[in-house]
């Protein structure tokens, strides 16, 4: 493994793969906080240059976090198809990039090689790709999943209705949900983040959302994004959950900080298959986001792009219906400004898609980060072009419970019209039946939540 290179008259000798991977990243405040980022642009380019010439076998043979020490690494290792891997293991990362971008490589080819790739290889290639590379490559991938309905088809942009309320008031949640539905949003999931992590509260929200779905015969799926153990209790007590949710980290220790393990996820997986209310087979909803391992001091000196990719490697095990990266939520110490958020959003979306995941993105920011709604408009357009599965829909982009801004019901409706994208087919039929949509356009009554009262 060659870790030495020259750039603009300076010789760079890197210590190990971990250092190369970290320094090859585009600038991220999180890598700087961890003290692993490139010192300057020249060092960054040097690292990219070294990385480009490493082979996929180099990456596999030099694990950043050995499988013996970490269960996420074990899950990723176990997921590699040895036949396919052996065909591509001598490719350099540069060659992998070019293969992905070739005109004659489409969804089927990507799906095939993805089975021979580890999460670290996927992260490595993302580091060599420009934003437009990431968009084009992701747009090729096709990942179709089915819970109660199917999403992920080409030309479909789904939306998660996220009708959160600061005190979990059921009428308040339902009010925001009506607004979402009236804009044609809610096909990805009706997904509520609860404030109150009690079984009762989770049960109440699951029941209330399910009642609305039943009353109006809405072809979608519900989910309450409480900790997985709380959802499991609610489901065991008979709460109607179509999906089960959990946030993931890219290391075992990071997951311990989240209060989860592979064993627990396996147990939840079995439960949702046995007692979930959906058709399936895809019954999971995962959320991730760069920086979460560092925030729980469980990063092992590994950069945040690579760790994020490892989250997807873990997610893949459970064949989720949807996954999204909550890209700008974590704060400026991990992603400092809109430039870093946009880059991270495109990286995550690509890395997830290349690992066969149905990727959505929570295009978002908090108020202490250097970004505003215009930056979100930009990233949303880029992601729509990249074929993102779904975006988050919050009333006017302002989540009054989580205190951050995402994309709005209006935004998703706009992106659909602008880029000729449609809701999930089953959901679109329902919108037509309700008189809310005709030939892919919202009708004059769209935007009136009282049609559901």
């Amino acid at each position: 493994m060659r870790l030495k290179t020259h750039v603009l008259g300076v010789t760079y000798q890197f210590r190990d793969l971990k250092e190369v991977m970290a320094k090859a990243n585009e600038e991220k405040s999180g890598d700087q906080l961890a003290g692993i980022a490139a010192a300057d642009m020249r060092e960054r380019v040097a690292a990219k240059q070294v990385l480009a010439d490493l082979t996929l076998a180099d990456i596999r043979n030099n694990p950043l976090l050995p499988p013996e020490e970490d269960e996420v690494s074990r899950v990723i290792e176990a997921g590699i198809n040895e036949k396919i891997y052996s065909q591509i293991k001598n490719w350099t990362v540069a060659e992998l990039r070019e293969y992905i971008l070739r005109s004659d490589v489409g969804a089927a080819e990507l799906k095939r090689i993805s089975r021979g790739l580890s999460s670290e290889m996927v992260a490595a290639v993302a580091k060599l790709m420009s934003n437009l590379d990431l968009i084009q490559a992701a747009a090729k991938a096709e990942v179709i999943t089915h819970c109660n309905i199917t999403i992920g088809q080409k030309g479909v942009l789904a939306g998660r209705a996220q009708p959160n309320h600061p005190t979990d008031s059921i009428p308040g949640i339902i009010a925001s949900l009506y607004e979402a539905l009236s804009y044609g949003i809610g096909d990805a999931v009706i997904g509520v983040n609860p404030v109150i992590d009690t079984t009762d509260s989770v049960k109440n929200i699951l029941q209330a959302t399910k009642e609305v779905m039943d009353k109006w015969q809405i072809p979608t799926q519900n989910c309450v994004l409480a900790h997985v153990t709380t959802q499991m209790r609610a489901i065991r007590q008979g709460a109607p959950a179509d999906m089960i949710f959990q946030s993931l980290a890219g290391t075992q220790q990071g997951n311990t900080a989240f209060g989860i393990s592979v064993e627990l996820l396996d147990e939840a997986d079995e439960l949702i298959r046995r007692e979930g209310t959906s058709t399936g087979p895809n019954c999971w909803y995962f959320e991730t986001g760069q920086g979460s391992e560092l925030s729980s001091d469980a990063h092992f000196g590994i950069d945040q792009v690579t760790l994020e990719s490892r989250c997807y490697g873990l997610a893949k095990r459970y064949r989720p219906f949807i996954v999204n990266t909550v890209v700008g939520f974590i704060g400026p110490e991990y992603l400092y400004d809109s430039k870093q958020v946009i880059r991270a959003g495109l990286e995550d979306h690509f890395m997830g898609k290349l690992q066969g995941l149905p990727m959505g993105v929570d295009v978002c920011y908090t108020n202490h980060i250097k970004a505003d709604q215009n930056d979100m408009d930009n990233l949303a357009v880029l992601l729509a072009a990249a074929g993102v599965h779904y975006l988050i829909g919050v009333p006017m982009a302002d989540d009054c419970m989580l205190n951050y801004q995402s994309t709005s019901y209006h935004d998703i409706a706009t992106l659909r019209e602008l880029q000729g994208l449609r809701p999930a087919p089953a959901f679109e039929q329902w919108l037509e039946k309700m008189g809310l949509m005709e030939r892919g356009k919202l009708t004059p009554i769209a935007g009136d939540p009282t049609i559901f009262m």
Partner: protein, 281 residues
């Protein structure tokens, strides 16, 4: 019942109440007429299927619903309202706590190693350490080993302190009095993160600690404050050992009630010699 006259009085009162209610309904109609502009502005949906129902929906949540659209884009007024609230939130991050409020409660100020707001945002670790100068000021001015140590910090919203300290702080002192708890010398920390209580805990060795700190501002409120409480915070204290009451502001957890409840929590911490997840409330 003491006398018949009394019965009449009550009848009068009940009748007056009734009339007031009925009358109020009428005046409410008038009032609605008067600021119908405002009311109508709130109801932006031009022809809702059920107008009354829309009012009910709007009243049920602070979320920005019933906002209507121009094509698929939001209306101008709503966009500007959003921008105004975002501006308030950003201002809160970059603002400073007013000196007058610190003077009012005789809080002297020390700083963390945060240097400036930009750096504060990028380096949360530096907001957890008090400067050397600050340490010596604390040592010099504060009562050592108090039962309760109170510290105020701007955190991510200076505005939260300006807006709530006048209500939370004295209510908190009342609750300490009500439980007979003794407090040390309160002071203010500029550029503080939650874990600055660990460093201060090392310096002053209090039994319990309460930190009133500005939260990351949202659009609903840029003035939200949290009260972080901990039993014997020291270097190495982990987050799960802290107890917190958050969302303290005019439209959230009522500041006076939050202040009044802090005493109850601290009392329990002292009794159980624990805080955070280990504390049974």
């Amino acid at each position: 019942m003491k006398e018949e006259l009394v019965l009449d009085t009550l009848v009068d009162k009940v009748m007056a109440e009734l009339e007031r209610k009925l009358g109020r309904e009428k005046t409410e109609d008038v009032a609605e007429g008067e600021d119908s502009e405002q009311e109508e502005e709130r109801i932006a949906v031009p022809q809702p299927k059920w107008r009354e129902g829309l009012r009910e929906l709007l009243a049920s949540t602070p979320a920005r619903i019933g906002v209507w659209r121009a094509g698929t884009r939001p209306l101008t007024k709503e966009v500007l309202r959003f921008r105004r609230d975002h501006a308030a939130a950003v201002d809160a991050v970059y603002g400073e706590v007013s000196q007058s409020i610190l003077d009012e409660f005789q809080l002297f100020a020390v700083e963390t190693c945060f240097q400036n707001t930009e750096n504060y945002l990028k380096r949360p670790d530096m907001g957890r350490i008090i400067t050397d100068e600050g340490v010596s000021v604390i040592k010099q001015k504060c009562k050592q080993r108090p039962q309760v140590q109170i510290v105020v910090s701007d955190g991510l919203s200076a505005n939260a302190i300006d807006a709530n300290l006048r209500d939370v702080f004295p209510a908190l002192l009342d609750s300490l009095r009500a439980y007979g708890l003794q407090w040390g010398t309160p002071f203010f920390v500029r550029g503080g993160r939650v874990a600055c209580m660990d460093h201060i805990g090392e310096i002053l060795q209090p039994d319990v600690f309460v930190l009133l700190i500005g939260e990351r501002p949202g659009l609903v409120s840029a003035q939200s404050m949290s009260a972080y409480m901990c039993y014997r915070p020291r270097k190495g204290t982990v987050e799960s050992q802290r107890t917190v009451i958050s969302n303290i502001h005019k439209g959230g957890t009522p500041p006076i009630e939050a202040g009044a409840h802090i005493g109850t929590v601290l009392k329990k911490m002292l009794e159980q010699k624990a805080s955070g997840v280990q504390l049974a409330i």
